[in-house]
Amino acid sequence: MPEKMIDDVTLQTLPGDAIRQIMWRFSDRFDIQMLVQSTRAVARGPVARLVAEGARSTHDWTDQKAALFKHFDEAGITGAFLDPECGGMIEGPKNLLFALIAFELAWVDAGAATASLAGNLAFAPIHERGTPEQRLHYMQRMVPPAPGENRKPLRGAFGLTEPIPYVGVDTGALGGKVRIAEWPDGGEPILHVEKRGRFITNMDLANFVTAAVDSDDPRIKGSCMVILEETDPGIFDRGAPTRKLVHQLSSTRDPIFSLKVPASRIIGGYKIKDGVIIPNYSHGDIIEAVFRRTRITVGAMTAAKLLSAVEPVIRYQRGRFRGTPTVQPGSSRYELGLQLKEDTLHRLVDIWASGEAAASLVFAAARLFDEIDPLEREKDRILEQQGVSGAWAQMKVFRNLRPKAMEYVELCAQKPEHRDTSRFKELEQDPLVRYMVLDAVGNVLCPASKLWNTGHGANMMREALSLMGGYGITEDCPGFLAFKWMDAQLEATYEGPEAVQRRQLSITMTMDIFLAQFRNWIKEMRQIASRRPGTGACTLATAMEMWLWTLEHLQNATDANGNKLYHSPRQGVTFALADALCWLLASRYQIRDVLELEEKGRNNPMVAEGLDGTLAFLTDLCHVQSARASGEVGRICAELVHGYNRHPSWDGESCHPYTPTELDALESVAPGIAGGVAGHADIMSTEGDPHPCKAGPCVRFEGLETFTRMRLKLDGCLTGARLAKDRAAQALTKVMIPEALDYPQ
């Protein structure tokens, strides 16, 4: 590697808490920092010891695993969702908090994260849509015992998924049924609930289950969620344990319920009209509100694993040849081991960059929902005041607000000194407008972070353990990398498999309020690129433009048979574009977090000491990641833009290679093409032949020039990306790591 590329200013130590607190924006939240620390102590203490002792070798729920709950309770993890008036510690929205808790636990074991947060998932339907009485009643009973207090808190499970053919997240049809068992005169109806669950987390411990059921009685309208308790009359059978291979520190079973419960257990309450019970919320309404928050925590788990892999891999690489008599201390083989090989470094750079991007994306999503939460409650309050009820009526209100929301987005992009300040303030302070604008992004960021972090994350985890060779695929591997890889597959699946996230994205990413903000982000990236070209923001902006162009193109274009391209059954189009978008978003938030560190880091003496080096390294990771993202986007877009046109053959009038005149026209897009192609016998027709050998005729379609220009530009934008990777790779050979991992193996 040329000497001048090895910059003196480089990463000194692995980024510590102070850096992460700035990047992920909780440096002024001591309450959150404390919970992070207490969670970390549980993760790297009792959880890690359990994994190291082999507790993951069975899917059965054991006393050892159950004992973890005492630690979760003491550390404030199981009670994290509680509001202060119910004995909780953290005020206000808690999405970032949950994401950080999941991150800390999954740093060691994601099953522990799942177990500890399952109660939160169970309670989420009640928290999001329950009546105030339901919320208070269950919250109070779920308060974990104080240290020394001998009380059993209520634990819950979330019961949506059912045995095949009904299953769960993505189905309108539910096998679980609710009927009216008794309806005493003037009294509260008693319901009979029949529900079979499949893969239900926490079922070994749950004292209550929030279950999705459909009406099987003309006197109940539609579907709903009900709260089932273990003491309700009837059958509360916890069922067979799921013979799962992953997340072994959580409990999963296929329960069977046949219970009688009062109608007051319908989550969110109900009305009675003409002798029919009408639940205030369908099960669909509720799970939408729940998953848009809880899916974020899942994305945080896989992000943690990628970043957790860095230290063990570096230690393995460096120590690889130590102990051989011929490898003497002080020699580069002794000091650097496998790090002498460029590929090992480059691959680790890729893993680290993905981890950074995943963490940035998921924490941005979590913070966004912390903003949305109070706005959503305010929105509900305002709409109720205005007498607006039901999804249709709400949609109408928002349709009318659309121009204002678009105007607000437009003003956001203007420089403060140029925009109409009073109008901007007026719109900004309108909770409905702000809600609409943030919600449009939330509807994209939630599925995007779940999809990309877990799916791409699982792929990158495989890379991580492959860097450890045979050791990587053993139980002894430091950092439990093989478990983390397997577990990532569950994270990609539960709470809605990847297809469900892609489906949601393919709708939400086409919303004009989202796209208007996306356009602003392109400008933002261009501005960043002019100040900090090393971030790869320029590359990203170009890729973002290409994605946007492709989306618009595909929304109007048809395939060779004249069929529509961008619509929901055409998942080959919509899903691929959803995937492409995720790459862009992850990269964008990664760059923003590094800029945040640049801005705030100097004020913190712990960060300031090595800030220039840390920034140089993290900036290089941004560049590496944005290049990769652009590559993915370019590939996907090119395939979609060209791939649905029929390959030209030689039988038609128009099917011929580029004529010299056409090549001259393309010269403006691709300088040199005319000369280059003209000199190529493969492509140009030769005198006497019906058509040229080998190569087919060339492609033409509406918009080709623009697309080709973008493709070329995108390729050019990759300039420097590999140099950034080389620098980052060099940094990996120098960075100081601790003597040993801070949890057992």
């Binding site: 510590g16 808490d17 309450d31 404390m34 620390q37 003491e74």
Partner: protein
């Protein structure tokens, strides 16, 4: 002692022991490579003193625990995110270097100032706790000097246990040669106890305690006075890390006595 003790625990912070520690010359003298950036923990022996203090305070109603710490305050704040969850205390921070390359007398002087500034501190109830030595400087001198400055002459070092007798006197177990303890009885405060490891496990984190501590910790950190601490007049002849030596031999079925004999031989060499 019905009105309780005023237990002042002196504890610095040190780099997390798992980190790679590499002495380097800095413009201001010796230090550790990347010291500011390395994660820090409460000095382990002093941390035991804190747990013992919290335990004693709990058993003795009316007691109060103060944690006096000289450290860069940003780093101290980070360490508090964990330590504040372990026990209830009032933090008395002094902003200054936590390096092991400072002079014990200067450190003791800064701690003295800080302790004298604690409002309502009653000398007749004072138990001065700390570590018998520090993970960043094993001289074991700071607490002794500080005790002398405070004119407390009942001093015990390497303490593993302190029990309160019914008459209010204190029975103290100090480590002495050969894994034994020396048992002493002193009539009560004021007294200096330099703790070894004590008998108590590290308490689990309790964020509830942490949050309530933070209400006073944050303002205290904001107001922390800066102390200029260095090593005036001290010359470091040489600085190096303790050497690790590893000689491994794989032998099957060796007898315990044989292994012990061999280890002894190796140590004596």
């Amino acid at each position: 002692m019905s009105e309780g003790y005023h237990i002042v625990v002196c504890a610095g912070i040190v780099p997390d022991p798992l980190q790679t520690l590499q002495p380097v010359q800095t413009p201001t003298g010796w230090g550790l490579k990347n010291e500011m950036m390395l994660p820090a923990v409460l000095d382990p022996w002093a941390a035991h003193a804190l747990y013992e203090a919290a335990h004693l305070a709990k058993k003795t109603p009316g007691s109060k625990v103060y944690l006096v710490s000289l450290a860069p305050k940003a780093k101290l704040q980070q360490v508090m995110m964990t330590v504040a969850q372990k026990a209830a205390f009032e933090l008395v921070p002094v902003d200054g270097p936590a390096s092991g390359f400072t002079e014990a007398f200067e450190v003791a002087s800064a701690l003295y100032e800080a302790i004298m500034g604690i409002a309502g501190l009653d000398r007749n109830k004072l138990l001065l706790f700390g570590g018998w030595e520090s993970a960043s400087r094993g001289a074991g001198s700071t607490l002794q000097i500080l005790g002398e400055m405070l004119q407390i002459h009942d001093q015990f070092q390497g303490v593993d246990e302190c029990t309160v007798n019914p008459d209010g006197s204190l029975q103290i177990l100090e480590r002495v040669e050969g894994g034994n303890h020396q048992v002493s009885v002193c009539k009560g405060p004021p007294v200096v106890l330099g703790w070894a490891t004590g008998n108590l496990p590290e308490p689990p984190n309790n964020p509830q305690i942490g949050m309530s501590n933070m209400r006073t910790i944050m303002p205290a950190l904001q107001k922390a006075k800066t102390a200029k601490i260095g090593a005036d007049g001290v010359f470091f002849g040489s600085v190096e890390l303790p050497k690790q030596l590893r000689q491994t031999r794989v032998v099957k079925d060796a007898q315990v006595d044989e292994i012990a004999r061999e280890i002894l031989e190796w140590i004596r060499k």
